[in-house]
Subunit: 146 residues, 2 copies
């Protein structure tokens, strides 16, 4: 999509992304080696009754869905950050995650007319329609000067 | 560390984590396949003059440093989310990232005395002392009932 195609209230849906145990373990072993992310046996005895994915992996999956569904072929070049991130429910092996992104605002910078600024909310649901991720991101686009 | 060891104003430092081009490409290919994260040649012609890491990978590296330096052996069991995330500067191949975490608050829940709630700021610097990540996270700890 191009920046000009985004408008407030627009909803973009994508997925599902099915997250297997092997991918959970691979990510967590490298980036988030807490036992409830890396040790299925220990996790089975823990608070969640089984292995759960690192929240950062959940974010990464949302990014992948957004990249494929909305940013491929766009003028996107960076993000300055996120307004907030919430992980209301855990992600478990085999979960099928789907994305609902809603555009909050899309405007050209007042001071730099070639800069497009998109604010959007990304929500990931699991196959039971429980929210597993909720965030608001800003994405920047490099536009032609006209 | 145990939850009882955290106190407001406490600073925990860790790293460096040296991020190579191969790891940048591996992460981005799977989770953030935008050309400035996955194509060194195209990125060389782009706004940043070279490949940059996905911001989500920068977060994941902060998590790894925090897990090793502060959460290993703790009662940590989950996080409900982040107050904000900022990516003020890009991360490039070969950057050596170091973490400075500062405890903002550490308290037991009023309603559930076995729940420890830690709020802390995580800042990652590169080898030029530029900030590449700034966030505030909440971490939850499952404590004994005394």
């Amino acid at each position: 999509m191009k920046f000009a195609e985004f408008h407030p209230g627009q909803v973009i849906e994508a997925g599902p992304y099915v997250l297997g145990e092997e991918e959970i373990l691979a990510f967590a072993t490298r980036y988030d080696p807490q036992w409830f992310h890396t040790d299925p046996d220990a996790a089975a005895e823990g608070l969640f009754g089984g292995l759960i994915a690192s929240g950062w992996q959940t974010c990464a999956i949302a990014m992948r869905l957004v990249a494929d569904a909305a940013l491929a072929g766009s003028e996107s070049f960076a993000s300055p950050g996120l307004r907030y991130v919430k992980w209301p429910n855990p992600v478990r092996p085999g979960d099928a995650l789907r994305l609902r992104a809603e555009v909050l605002s899309a405007r050209r910078s007042d001071s730099k007319k070639t800069l497009g600024i998109l604010e959007w909310q990304w929500v990931l649901f699991n196959q039971h329609d429980a929210v597993v991720l909720d965030l608001v991101a800003t994405s920047l686009f490099r536009l032609n000067d006209h």
